[in-house]
């Protein structure tokens, strides 16, 4: 039998070695692009001279940029709230089904989340198509007025949020369902013996027990929702009147399509401090709650 070298016989060394591929991935796909974006954001348009924070100060004077900031926050907040509510309701509904029948429902509910968003959004685009919307075709069959899904500011915003909720709600569902299943049944039995009703059980047992999962899921969802690109890109390209642009699509328009990469990098980095602060607060609270439970 071959004997392992002394270094590999030490558990910490093996652990570090096994983590090397992960570190390499994080370095290559997260750290390097991030620092490169930071570097790009400090260059002039031609990428030939260092300009410090000039790109950021320039952005602060642009009306469209502030509109994008407001829209991104509106989009993320509304979408995450609805995803969380729908996910929670659906998780509860599935959790009440006998275990035997749950699998098919879980599978069906996950479909929107597992389809590549660019493809599923294309399907939505056909439903919302400006002139030949399939939904409008149905509405007019029932003598109802057609809805300008993508050409009116309100409806265009509604449409991109709707699609984002459709894609993202299953993620909340599966996280909440896992959390619900981890709650000991004895807690509910004891509460019932004390005469607690369904709402009391929900507010005094379920919610406290899944609070950490809610916080982490919400944090994760805010990050990916704020960074959303494909839905807006496929459905509206930021229109009408730039009123559906998010950070990512506006950064793309300015950086890639208009050839001002440093300004585009500045737009995309703008959300980093906001998300960092949010992540710090949420994760600190999660850690404190976990510590108090321990």
């Amino acid at each position: 039998m071959r004997v392992l070298p002394p270094l590999l016989r030490r558990k910490p060394a093996v652990a570090v070695l096994m983590c090397v591929p992960l570190f390499a991935l994080i370095l290559g796909l997260v750290a390097y692009p991030f620092f490169h974006a930071l570097f790009l954001a400090t260059l002039n348009k031609a990428e030939t001279a260092f300009v410090g924070l000039d790109n950021f100060t320039f952005l602060f004077g642009r009306q469209t940029f502030w509109m994008v900031v407001r829209q991104s926050l509106l989009f993320a907040l509304v979408a995450v709230v609805f995803k969380a509510l729908i996910g929670l309701a659906a998780a509860h509904a599935i959790n009440t089904i006998p275990t035997k029948g749950q699998r098919k429902w879980r599978g069906m509910m996950l479909i929107p989340w597992v389809i590549p968003p660019a493809l599923s959004t294309l399907g939505w685009w056909w439903l919302f198509e400006p002139t030949y919307s399939a939904i409008n075709w149905g509405l007019t069959k029932f003598a109802m007025p057609a809805v300008p899904w993508l050409s009116d500011t309100f409806w265009a915003r509604f449409s991109i949020i709707l699609v984002n909720v459709w894609v993202g709600a299953p993620f909340f569902l599966i996280m909440y369902l896992a959390a619900l299943k981890s709650i000991p049944g004895e807690l509910y039995e004891a509460a019932e013996m004390d005469g607690a009703g369904p709402w009391q059980k929900f507010f005094y047992i379920t919610l406290p027990m899944i609070r950490n999962i809610i916080a982490i899921t919400t944090l994760f969802s805010i990050i990916v929702t704020l960074a959303n690109f494909d839905i807006v890109r496929v459905l509206t390209q930021g229109g009408p009147l730039n009123t559906t642009h998010l950070f990512a699509t506006y950064a793309f328009r300015v950086g890639i399509e208009s050839g001002d990469i440093p300004l585009g990098a500045s737009v995309s980095l703008f959300m980093f401090p906001m998300l960092a602060i949010l992540a710090f607060i949420i994760l600190r609270n999660v850690r404190r709650r976990a510590a108090s439970l321990a």
């Binding site: 050409s151 009147l241 050839g259």
Partner: protein, 451 residues
Amino acid sequence: MALTAGRTRRNVLKAIGASAAGALAAPYVKTAGSAGRLRLGVIDHWVPGTNEVLQRILARWGEANNVEVTIDFITTIGNKLLLTAQAESRAGSGHDIYALEFHMVPMFKHRLIAVDDVVEDIVAAHGPIAGLSRQAAFLDGAWRGGPAPAMNASAATVARRDLFLEHAGIDLTELFPASDTRDSAKVDRWDWEAFGNAAVALHAADRPVGAAISPVTDSSAWLAQLFASYGAAMVNEQGEIDADSDAVREALEYLTRLAKVMPDSVYAWDDASNNRWIISGTGSAIFNPPSAWAVAKRDSPDVARHLWHCDVPRGPAGRFRAFNSIFWGIWDFSENQSAARDLLRYVAEPEVVVAMLEASQGYDLPLIASHYDRTTVWAEAGPPAGGLYNYALRGDERTVTDGYPAPPEIAARISMQRIVPNLVARVTQGGETFDDAIGWAENELEGVLRG
């Protein structure tokens, strides 16, 4: 057709006729080094069947020159052509020859090798490249691409002759006949007001005219020709912001009226929406190359036989047609630049240009004036017979591009940021005052001009 403002095709031909005639007979001469492998990224053609013809032409050239030619047809929908170019230029890897739309040449000039020798050979053999196209590709004293054999196109008025006659009382076939017999006095009355009056009548008949006012290329194109015809510009030739002008207000005032009789969906149209719309039979006019007609001929022949291509309406400052010149550039990381240069020379040969013109059913307008007289495709295309005759510029139209008359680099950014469509939509859809909308545009233009 890419001609300098103020010069028609006929005038240019007169001027260059003698020199071009001799040069046209010159055979294509292959230079040394045409061997190895060449990868091309070219535009996926809108007209069905055209890609295959280009593929055959290039394959034949490859066989004759011992070059393995591979072609990727890249769609312009969703700006994929631009995105691929950005990726390749930053990575320093990809195709050898890449098709560049008008505004892409200034964007990528730092990564495109100078091809002065190629263009000089082409000009010596076939005559000059027209003014507007030259402006796009002759940058900082060097040519950054050679004329492409495919996808050069203009945004003509594509109208239903039956509906215009029935509901607006305008006989487009009489106004723009399929021969050189047009009555200039009648054509002179074909202005934006006349078009607007027709649009009102057609809207009343539930057959409205339509053109995109959304963040896409089609919007920029037709609004460029309308703005130019009012003398309206975002940035002038000196590179100064010029949006706050009477001309811009006049154009916006007209568009406010016109937009009311167009479908609301134009604010969300993409580059294929106007095609689908006229092919469906719902619409009565769009601004487009003949791709809509070509697809209608295949899918909706009853509509196709009524589609008539004609001049763009005139404005107070003249008559302008948006023209998208396509150039094939060679990346500086290409490993086979010698063969690439040879191929650029070859695709400017008359037989290639004519073959592509016929394959595209007249869609691909040549960038070299002398090539226009080598085909009768526009006269023969149909049905309807003569429907494409006036797609090739025949009258007093001058060519223009979005961002005009700003310098190429600035015009590219004005176009790509869709400033004009957004300005118009702010007024016509958003209900903003002219002052507010122009103020917004000026704020955006400061970003365009920043160093």
